[in-house]
Symmetry: C2
Subunit: 93 residues, 2 copies
């Protein structure tokens, strides 16, 4: 019923779902550095752990803790470093 | 790397992970009614959607919205109704 996807040699796994907030995923990242590309606008919220994020066009890295959210525009790429298993919710707009 | 589990004919799917908060899962529930049993104390937090929850020993149902948490003691069962795809984080203590 729910589709799971894995990326980066299974170091990132997500489950897709959809409700009144729109299309979304929840997932988990193992420690590592990842570059993600967006097709739509994404609102990414840390659920557990911590993400170090370099947003598109930024030289700076910023930390996001549980229930903190960042937005990425469509057709961009952004970089994420995590040093502990980190779960997230992503809503696609 | 991450273990996924499914329950209730794949209407509930979760991904297990572990970090400084302890053992945890994130998962998604399809609309339905479910009875879950605990082995350890569980701190369940709604991530997206909404849960209607009847805690052990309670006659009442209470609603939990995103980022709201309820606690269930070990070796208990509790009832959940969801009317939309609902994601959650569960931390086991």
């Amino acid at each position: 019923m729910f589709k799971t996807n894995s990326y980066f040699d299974d170091k990132v796994i997500s489950i897709a779902f959809e409700n009144q907030e729109g299309k979304a995923t929840v997932g988990v990242m193992a420690p590592g550095e990842y570059t993600f590309g967006t097709t739509s606008v994404e609102f990414m919220t840390v659920v557990s752990g911590e993400m170090h994020v370099q947003l598109p066009g930024s030289d700076d890295w910023k930390n996001y803790k549980p229930f903190e959210t960042f937005k990425v525009e469509a057709e961009k790429s952004f970089n994420v470093k995590v040093t502990t298993d980190t779960s997230y919710r992503c809503i696609y707009k």
